[in-house]
């Protein structure tokens, strides 16, 4: 029995316990806070499994942004005693009051289904071939020709370019569909629900240069170490949300056209790269010439950072913001 294994057991126990409690806790606020700590434990697990890129992204996304989104929605769903003049009970706040309480048969059916699913999953994992190290060798062999030195960045922006491209498309679609659901054309009149105070303004003002520095540093780091467009984009999103929340100028003060431009910048840049490589002679589509690939990847990364930051902060602002009457 050695210490790392002991750490693994503790970490997994904490992970399972937190997720069990967050699904079972009767208090919704408690569940939300547990969800944030679930994200933190998960990012510890990523570190343990030698995936520092994902740990960086998870700490910012799972613990930070998801927490902001969930808490904001929770606040929006809370019974508003002072405004309504009557106290809504938590029962009335429930979103599906017409559906009956799950009966014993329902629970049993769900349990059987889940049990068989988990068993099938277990069989699938046990059935994995014992030999073979996946695509690691292939990636490391072609790393020299990719234009960057960090394998994860090489996979994201060169070898599996189309994955990242479609992912940026998903982000644009998400932002646009939230605009549809909220019945809005842009973010311009959205204000934080509380008047920001002086202390927070000062704090955010002091932190903003540091956060810009971190964004640029992470972006530059992606070339040869864990980091890159995703992590930098999430930090940028956090910065934009904080700026907005403390009453400074943020993406809500952008004009509609400029905002849309930031939204599609990453997707458009990748489309441009795809069109250029497709029309280049003696080059297959999405294949970068070796001497240009570093520059192309950097340009795409800058645009993708901008898009990810703007989209994620728009999601949060749309879920937190209120229109001033």
């Amino acid at each position: 029995m050695n210490l790392t294994l002991l750490f693994d057991v503790f970490l997994i126990a904490a992970l399972l316990l937190v997720s069990w409690r967050l699904l079972g806790a009767s208090d919704l606020f408690q569940a939300t806070v547990l969800f944030i700590s679930f994200g933190l434990f998960l990012s510890l697990a990523w570190i343990r499994l030698q995936a520092p890129d994902i740990a960086l992204a998870e700490a910012a996304v799972g613990a930070g942004l998801a927490g902001v989104l969930l808490l904001g929605t929770f606040k929006g769903l809370e019974p508003e005693e002072d405004r309504e003049g009557e106290n809504l009970s938590s029962e009335a706040c429930r979103l599906d009051p017409i559906s009956p309480c799950p009966g014993r048969a329902h629970l049993l059916l769900a349990f059987t289904f889940v049990g068989s699913m988990t068993a099938l999953l277990l069989l699938a994992v046990l059935d994995l071939p014992a030999e073979g190290d996946g695509l690691t060798l292939l990636v490391f062999q072609s790393l020299d020709r990719s234009g960057v030195e960090h394998p994860v960045t090489a996979v994201l922006l060169n070898f599996r370019f189309y994955d990242t491209w479609l992912e940026l498309g998903v982000l644009v679609a998400a932002a646009l569909s939230i605009l549809c659901v909220r019945n809005r054309l842009d973010l311009r009149e959205l204000r934080p629900s509380k008047v920001p105070d002086v202390m927070l303004r000062r704090l955010v003002m002091g932190l903003t240069p540091i956060m810009i520095l971190v964004v640029v540093y992470l972006l530059w780091l992606g070339d040869h170490a864990p980091g890159g467009a995703f992590q930098a984009g999430v930090v940028l999103a956090a910065m934009l949300i904080l700026l907005w929340f403390s009453g400074h100028a943020s993406i809500t003060s952008l004009s509609r056209i400029l905002w849309l431009f930031c939204l599609i910048a990453g997707f458009a840049m990748m489309l441009l790269a795809a069109v250029i490589t497709a029309s280049w002679p003696e080059m297959r589509p999405l294949e970068f010439a070796e001497e240009w690939s570093g520059a192309i990847i950097l340009a795409i990364e800058v645009a993708a950072t901008l898009s990810i930051g703007v989209v994620l902060s728009s999601l949060a602002i749309l879920s937190l913001g209120a229109v001033e009457d």
Binding site: M199, L203, L207, I210
Partner: protein
């Protein structure tokens, strides 16, 4: 060097534990955030110091200290916001 960093690590862990015990045992929210911010910042400081002692280069040491300073700023301002909210609520 290693003994020094190990001692500092243990000291840091002790303060973290003290902070956690405070979080669990103290009766009200104000004293809880008091325990958390004070003891945990000290504990983090000791662990950062332990890592600085063993770090190979000056840049790494500088980055570690920067991390500690940022954590100090963040936790003290969060403490302030929480405490003010608690007092306003009465």
């Amino acid at each position: 060097m290693e003994i020094l960093s190990g001692t500092l690590c243990l000291l840091g862990a002790f303060f973290f534990m003290a902070g956690t015990v405070g979080l669990i045992r103290f009766p009200d929210s104000l004293s809880r955030i008091h325990a958390l911010t004070k003891a945990d910042n000290l504990g983090l400081g000791f662990i950062v110091l332990a890592l600085v002692v063993t770090s190979q280069s000056l840049t790494v040491a500088f980055k570690l200290i920067l991390i500690w300073l940022l954590a100090l700023v963040a936790s003290s301002s969060i403490c302030f916001f929480l405490a003010r909210k608690l007092i306003h609520r009465g």
